[in-house]
Structures are given as structure tokens and as C-alpha cells.
Symmetry: none
Subunit: 204 residues, 4 copies
Amino acid sequence: MPKVTETHKRRRRQAILDAAEQIFLGKGYQSTTVDDIAVRSGLSVGALYRYFSGKSDILLTLMEDRLGRTPDLLERLTADAHDPWEQIGRCVDIFVLALRVRHPSTGRLLIVAWGEALQDSTVRDGLLRRFTGLVDYIRTVIQRGIASGKFRRDADAKVLASLLVCLADGVTLYWSANSSSLELQRIRTTVMSMVRAYLSPELA
Amino acid sequence: MPKVTETHKRRRRQAILDAAEQIFLGKGYQSTTVDDIAVRSGLSVGALYRYFSGKSDILLTLMEDRLGRTPDLLERLTADAHDPWEQIGRCVDIFVLALRVRHPSTGRLLIVAWGEALQDSTVRDGLLRRFTGLVDYIRTVIQRGIASGKFRRDADAKVLASLLVCLADGVTLYWSANSSSLELQRIRTTVMSMVRAYLSPELA
Amino acid sequence: MPKVTETHKRRRRQAILDAAEQIFLGKGYQSTTVDDIAVRSGLSVGALYRYFSGKSDILLTLMEDRLGRTPDLLERLTADAHDPWEQIGRCVDIFVLALRVRHPSTGRLLIVAWGEALQDSTVRDGLLRRFTGLVDYIRTVIQRGIASGKFRRDADAKVLASLLVCLADGVTLYWSANSSSLELQRIRTTVMSMVRAYLSPELA
Amino acid sequence: MPKVTETHKRRRRQAILDAAEQIFLGKGYQSTTVDDIAVRSGLSVGALYRYFSGKSDILLTLMEDRLGRTPDLLERLTADAHDPWEQIGRCVDIFVLALRVRHPSTGRLLIVAWGEALQDSTVRDGLLRRFTGLVDYIRTVIQRGIASGKFRRDADAKVLASLLVCLADGVTLYWSANSSSLELQRIRTTVMSMVRAYLSPELA
DNA sequence: CATGAATGAGTCTTCATTCAT
DNA sequence: AATGAATGAAGACTCATTCAT
């Protein structure tokens, strides 16, 4: 029976995380009450405290769960592309397009996390870890492209990788606040044009 | 007599805004108490309410004061450059470098504002207005470059402008959280390289 | 289980109302703090808000509970009297005597309510509804007396009814402020004499 | 110059009292702020404290000024009527009609006073003194009528007097809350009918 | 005398967390 | 395990009163 209990527990935790996410995205972390989360997840407040040690624990877990996976996701989705150009294209797609389309909430969650990061160093560290993870992976992709001679030799792999992540998060911010003000398709095209223009060897 | 009073009033307001900014940046908006602000600005709580209608009024004013001026600033600093290449270069400088150096707090204030924007449409509107203002100006710069034949004819002025602003805010986010993880000089260089590569006519 | 909970809830609400009433009568509504009520009812401030939506809700409920029942009470207590003279006598008794004797606090509560009525239209409406309810019932009693020929034909039923209610509340005011200044027995006798003198047919 | 100053002082005090009265009538005593009164009377808050020792002092003075005069007024207005019937008629007129017409605000001021009387014994004593003053005068009128043989011998002068005052205040309450629910003319007629019926010797 | 800026205790209300059942 | 009533500390805001100018 411990197995059943384990499953049960995991399901409950997930239900709570899902409920919390929805409300955090709508009202932000601070304005969300524990009661809100309890009601939405169909549990009692008391029960909630059996699965999480408190409100902030829910946010932390949620971030780990939602944002922590992005680097893995990135790696998985680029794995089957062997040409550097295709790989970097995938990165752009994932950031600027795919991620938003599949998980439109990620953006707002990011905002929530950033807001909390100001006062909570655990949250801040989580965000920076995610940043580093993403940057490191993209940097590797770029460096492989340089090594293979397909990318221009003096490209700044680290900085370009950082810029792409910063750009992605910047776009996410505005897109989640007012999705009508940005046209993702044109953004994708333009970003790719810039990246291609920058990385092409003949440009040097 | 009115002069003394007016000056006094302005000074007080400024003191309150300064105090509030410092604390907001450290703990975020929600975690900052009105009392915190009062103590730091050397006033009593009651006095504070003579200058602002409430806590949210302080944030709003602060945003207007700190963030609202960016479009104007941008315009002023680019005004004396007549070559499109120089103008766009200035824009990049201002965003990615100058602004951060001069007002390192702007980034964190942006985070605070974004966090509040989730629940407060007034704040959200303020941020979007700022975005539109910045984008519109940069777009004009680019379009002038295109018209003059110095920029490639089929460049997407609107999207590029948006991207630069998103990028700037994305960089700001991470830079304000951990300034050591980004090297602004290399960022500037790289961004300019990309923009130049993208906008150069011979590339088409 | 619901039964226990319901009973519990009712008891708690009643305890709060009782506590609030006592303090309102002593200090008036505005000077009573929510904390006062909480302490006296043996609950915490927070608990209080589980039963009432706020301080004003307590007053409103209290009025409904204490004053709102008067019309029903009047009807019930007059129901078994079939002679118009006896019915009107009962009305006078209830107002001028019985009610005060049984619920000496009603008067002060009325004062509290009147005071709040100045600024709170909900309270004002409640008081006027009570007035109308009482007047309407007494008017019916008088009209039946007129129809049966036992009361003088040209008596002004509506106005007399209003007067009796106004008189009752006026007496209540002074009696609750200083019960020794009024002798209820003599009042009853005198009011009945006046009513009898006014309503007797032979007077016309 | 002391004379000028004295006049000035009196005028100021009067202006403050007038302003306070208007606002008290509209919002009640507790909800009225000292600032409200200052603004309306065209003075500064500070100045106000040179004429009154505080907010409650204003209310007390106001009551003395407005309500304290009623007994005198009553005496003056009945003085030139020598027939007991006319005198008692005047009393009714003054209460039920004249007073309301000339000073419609008296009623609400009475409410304000009653509300404060709950916590402030000075106010309560003032109200009771006013009550006693009025009752005593009317009682004298009635007793003179009895002595002259024009009123029925066994009339209860004291109680009738009290009843008339209670009735007047009761009517005032409802009339000031909703003047449309009471028709003063019909009230006057009916009250006089009752009084006449009660006091007429032939009725005994 | 007048001003009105400043004070700060006091109010209502919310909400994360606990714990008896 | 689950419930949800109870807690009580904390927060935003108000306002009678004072006092430097």
C-alpha cells in the first residue's frame, strides 16, 4: 500500500501545484491566499500543509517543476538535429515560439518568480541556475558550429547565448502582458535573420 | 511664500520616492510596508499621506518618474546623431550600457513593476505605454535608415525595434539580479554586430 | 455532523450579537471596536470575521434580529383579541409597556441605529421598513374598529397609527436614557385615555 | 479694542458652530472630521482650536445653543395666549409643526446628540435637562387649565406633558429621516383632537 | 493670531499557520 | 489523513491634536 500512497501523494502534490500556478499567474504570488489554492485544488487548507511546508514551498516547488525543466527540454528537442544551423534554429524556435505556444503561462510564472526573487534568495538562485543552464547549452551548440567551421570563427558564443536567453525572457514578459503587441512569427523570422547574419562566416 | 511651500513639497515627495525606491528594490512592492517608507524617508506615516494618496500611488509615481522618462531620454540622446548607423548605435548604447550604468536600479524597479502589473492594470498599462513609446522611436530611426538607403530595404523595422526593447529589458532583469553574470561591454559589441549584420544592405 | 456545525455556527453568531449589543448600548456603534466585540464574545478578531462580513454587518444583523421582529411580535400578541378596543389596548401595552419591560435594551439599540442611519442608508432603510411595518398593522386594527362601528367614523387611522409608533419610540428614547423620569404605568393609562377619548364614536 | 475682539470672537465661534452643525446633520458627529469643519467654516484647523477646546466641545456648545433654547422659545411663543386651550394648542403647534418648519435640522441634531449621549454623560444630561425644561413648562400650562376649570379635573398633567414631548421627538426622528412618510398637517390635527378629547371636562 | 504640516496612536481587516476533532 | 475553525500578528490608512513658523 505504500505504493498507492505514494502515487496518491504525488497526484495530490501535482493538483496543488496546478491550482497554485493558475492563481499565481492571475494574481501574482503575494495576492494569492493559501485558501485560494486550497479551494481550487479541492482540498482543505489543513491538508495542503501535509504536502507542502507552506505557501513559499509551493512557489519554490512550482518553479523547480516548471522552469527547472527548460534546459532539459531544450536539450531533448535539439538532440536529433545534427547540423549546427538547424540546432541553433531549434533553439530560437523553442524560445521565441514553441515555449510560448505550448506553455503560455511560463511567462507570467517567470514574472512571479522574478518578483519573489527580490526578497528570496532561494528563488533568485533558482532563476540564475536556470539561466546558466540554458546559456551553457546554447553556448555549446554555438561552439560546435564554430568548431565545425559553419559559424564564423570569431563569434562570441557565450555572449550570444546569453543574449538569446535574455531576449527570450524579455519577449516573454511583454508577450504575457499583452500578447497582441508582438507577432511571434515575424519575431522568429527576424531573430533567425539576425543570428544567421551574425554567425555566417562570409560576413567576417 | 508659495515658492517655499512648493519647493518644500517637491523635496518631500522626492524624499519619499527615493526612500520607497530603495526599499522596493530590496524587498519588492508587496513586502514593503508604508511604515518602512515613512521611517526611511524620515517622516511619519501620516505625513506620507499628505503627499501620496496611498502606497500604490507611490509606486505609480515612481514608475512614471523613473521609467516614464526613458523614451524622452532616448530621443534626447539620439537627437544630435544624423547618421542612421550612429543613431541605432546610440540606441543600443543607451539600452544595454548607459542606462544600466547610470541608473542601476532601473532594472529592479522594472521587476517590481512587472510583478505588480499582474494584478494592477494601471501598472500594466504604464509598462506597455513605455514599451510602445520606446519601440515607436526606434522604429522611426530604423525606417529613416531604410529610406536613406543605408539600411537594407526589407528589414522589419517594427519587429527589430521590439526585439531591441525586449532584449534590453531581458538583459536588465538578469543584470540586476546578478550583474557579474553578464559583461556589458561584450554584450554591446555583440548586439551591435548582430544589428549591423542584419541591417547592412549588402546582406540582402 | 452538519447539525452540530449548524448549531455551533448559530450559537457563535448569537454570542457575537449579544456581545456586540452590550457594547453598542454602552458606547455607541462608532466607539465600539471590533476588538471590543471579539474580547467580549470570547473569540479572536479573526474568528469574528468568519461569522460576519464586518463591523457594519453585525449592526445590521443585530437590528434585524432585535428590531425587525417587532411587527411580527405585535401581530402575534394581538391575534387572540377580537374586540377592536382590546386590540388597540394591546398595541399600546406592547409598545409603551411590555416591550420595554422585556427588552429594556431595545431603546438604546434604537438610538444606536438612528445614529448610524445618518450616514448609512442601509440602516436608515431598515428603520423605515420597521416603522412602516408597525404603522401598517396598527392602521389595520383601527380600520377594522371603524368598520365595525366601534370606533368613530372619521378617525384618521393612518396618522393615529403613525403617532402611536412615534410616541413609542420617543418614550423609548427618554426611558432608556433615564428610566426614572418616566412612569410607565401612568403613561399607559394616559395614552389609553387619550386613544379612547379620540376613538369613541359618541365624541364625534 | 477688546470689544472688537470680542465681537470677532463671537462671530468666529458662530461660524464654526454653523459649519459644524451642517456637517453633523449630514454625516453624524463621529464621521465628521475636524478638518471638515475647518474647511467649511473657512478657517484653519489650528485656528479652530483657539475657539473650542476640541471636537467634542463644539458638539456640546452646539447642543446648548440649539437645543437649550427650546424651552425659552416655547415660553416666549405661548406667552401672549391667555386661554389654556390656546396655550396648549400653541405647544402642539410649536412641537409638531412650527419647530420642524423653521428649523428642520433640529431633528437630526437631536439624533446626533442622542447618539453621543450613550457615551458622554454631559451630552446625556443636557438632553435630559432640555426634556425636563419642556415638560415642566407644558405641565404648568395644563395645570393652569385644570385650575381654571377648562380642563378636566383628573387629567394627568405631568404625564401628558411628557407624552407630548416624547411624541414630538419621536415624530422628529422619523420626519428627519424621511419627511415624506409623515404629513405634518394631519398630524397636528389629530394630535389636537386627541388632546382636546382627553382634556375636555365633559368627557369625564 | 493664524496656518497647515506633522504626528502617531488607533481602526478595521486579512491571512498564513496551527490543531482539536 | 483530512478538516476547517480559530488564532493573532501585521498592514494600510485615518484623524484629533499640536506646534513651529
